[in-house]
Point group: C2
């Protein structure tokens, strides 16, 4: 499995290997005749440029990293699609890394990506502990946060306004006449969760609705977690009339729990999620949720990343995207 190198071609064509390099890359003065000859030869010999040797000298690898916490949540593949498409359009490839919500894995991947000298990293962090990512951005390689708004100011990010998303959802529920609204969140510490929780509580406060602490529960951004927490909620004596779920995946678990409990969605309890993953629109599901521009998020992340890479600009870029309520069939007036 010995691969053919530029030197092999040079020998075969009886020229220096500098000439071969130029003939192949094209962006240097070289006669048409030799260029053609060499290219033909290269193809015949089955030459594939060694990107890693090239990376060593040019200092760029035309590679990006994308770190996601859960590839099993359809939200992230959609973002990934945007990341990938935009990267490809610009001649970049992407390393997709999945942390399974483990901080340790996130750190490992960060190190590995930098070790491979990727030109930039987009990351949807696993937790609120992002010091390693910030440090990397400052000293080693540009990073932009996807679907996450860091508490620290001088980071790049593109995110949907989670606070506003929650506001919209809560206001909608209130407009439907609900007063007893529970919140089943994901990881309590995560920024996404914090903003959504804040939007929810603020709206309730604004309408002078007292917050029952038993109505606020946290777990993980997973179906199982939504299911479990809702069970707990339903066993207690004061059952809410509506539930705001931390995201669509959680919402699916919430609904499952409600129906297993013998209650109906939306007749007994209304449910709204966040994200609008593709399965939310299934006829059988028809989940009311707050849409988040997933694909666009991915695209924009790469755009700002490439910008940073190109001009070395260290100033933080922030992009806030607009959420949108999409009303389907899991909510009902009271």
């Amino acid at each position: 499995m010995m691969s053919v190198t530029i030197k092999d071609i040079a020998k075969a064509a009886n020229v220096s290997y500098a000439t071969v390099s130029r003939a192949l890359s094209g962006h240097s003065e070289i006669s048409d005749k030799t260029k053609k000859k060499i290219r033909k030869l290269a193809k015949e010999m089955g030459y594939t440029p060694n990107a890693i040797a090239k990376g060593l000298v040019t200092k760029n690898t035309k590679t990006l990293g994308f770190i996601v916490p859960d590839i099993t949540n359809p939200f992230f593949p959609e973002v990934a699609q945007g990341v990938e498409d935009c990267a490809n359009r610009n001649g970049y490839q992407v390393f997709l890394c999945n942390t399974s919500w483990k901080l340790e894995k996130e750190k490992q991947y960060l190190k590995a990506l930098y070790g491979k000298r990727v030109d930039g990293i987009v990351v949807s962090p696993t937790s609120n502990d992002i010091t390693h990512l910030v440090e990397a951005d400052r000293n080693k390689v540009p990073v932009v946060f996807a679907a996450y708004r860091p508490a620290i100011a001088d980071c790049n990010f593109v995110a949907t306004d989670d606070y506003k998303s929650a506001e919209i959802a809560a206001e909608y529920l209130l407009k439907l006449g609900h007063r007893k609204i529970a919140y089943i969140g994901g990881q309590q510490e995560s920024c996404t969760n914090k903003y959504r929780l804040k939007g929810y509580t603020d709206v309730l406060k604004k309408h002078d609705i007292s917050l029952s602490p038993s109505y606020i529960k946290h777990g993980a951004f997973r179906q199982q977690s939504g299911y479990q927490l809702t069970k707990e909620l339903l066993i207690a004596n004061d059952v809410p009339t509506a539930i705001l779920a931390g995201n669509d995946i959680i919402a699916l678990g919430v609904i499952q729990a409600i129906e297993e409990f013998g209650l109906d969605v939306p007749n007994n309890i209304s449910v709204v999620g966040f994200d609008d993953i593709s399965f939310a629109s299934l006829d059988k599901v028809q989940l009311t949720t707050v849409f988040q521009p997933k694909y666009t998020t991915g695209e924009l992340c790469v755009e700002v990343l490439l910008q940073k890479i190109k001009d070395g600009d260290q100033n933080p870029t922030h992009k806030m995207l607009e959420p949108e309520l999409v009303i389907r069939r899991t909510c009902k007036g009271i």
Copy 2:
């Protein structure tokens, strides 16, 4: 953003850079004292080894590639999870590449991956045209096919027996009393589709049921495709009592179409899918389907890949996994 190299450390420690290399990698004779000194220094200076320079000399990158046709189909993320976990356990990282069912992209990615000199590739091919993949396996880098059984004999693959899967599903439908069973497939040319189709037709033949050609339709492994083809099917005059869908995603589209048409699943038409993606078990969906060990597929793929990498064995390895019917609520006796 100048990164610190082994030479910088050597200078600081006042030793040769060979010594630094040895101190860091550890697997060479070196005194404990200098080893400690150098490691401490390296940490202080924020050294991250340049994996690409290392790869250039050692000829291996500790990196695998995984090419999938559609990251948006939950089937693949689950396989990817298995691939990743097993790779990580063995000190490898994986490049996840998504072709969006485009052969051209598959070829591009293959070239890019080889350019980056990944140590091995696992691929779920986009089409039945796999010559480029086979060629790569023979001359450049070991590749194993995931969830795909090539027509050519001397390839590595780990797949679930698609023929058997279809047999199981068809037999089940027959046992329920169905005689008018349609098949809504994915890409007609794909191997997966061919085996499933064959299993289906063979079973019907065995039971002396004549195959209506209008009952067999092909499109893509996508929800939209299943939806569209089912619409066509329902408009025709001879409506089937059961539909075998090419996979779960298609099945979801099939069900959508049936219900939009004013019919009920399973009361008017039974539906069964393949794969058992996580959403199939949702309370609202409860899709009867044929389970395929997705995570295991991923794991096994990298196991055989690593084996090939380690001992350079060129003999093809085949692994067939067992499907399993999981009965839920989209089928009914007649």
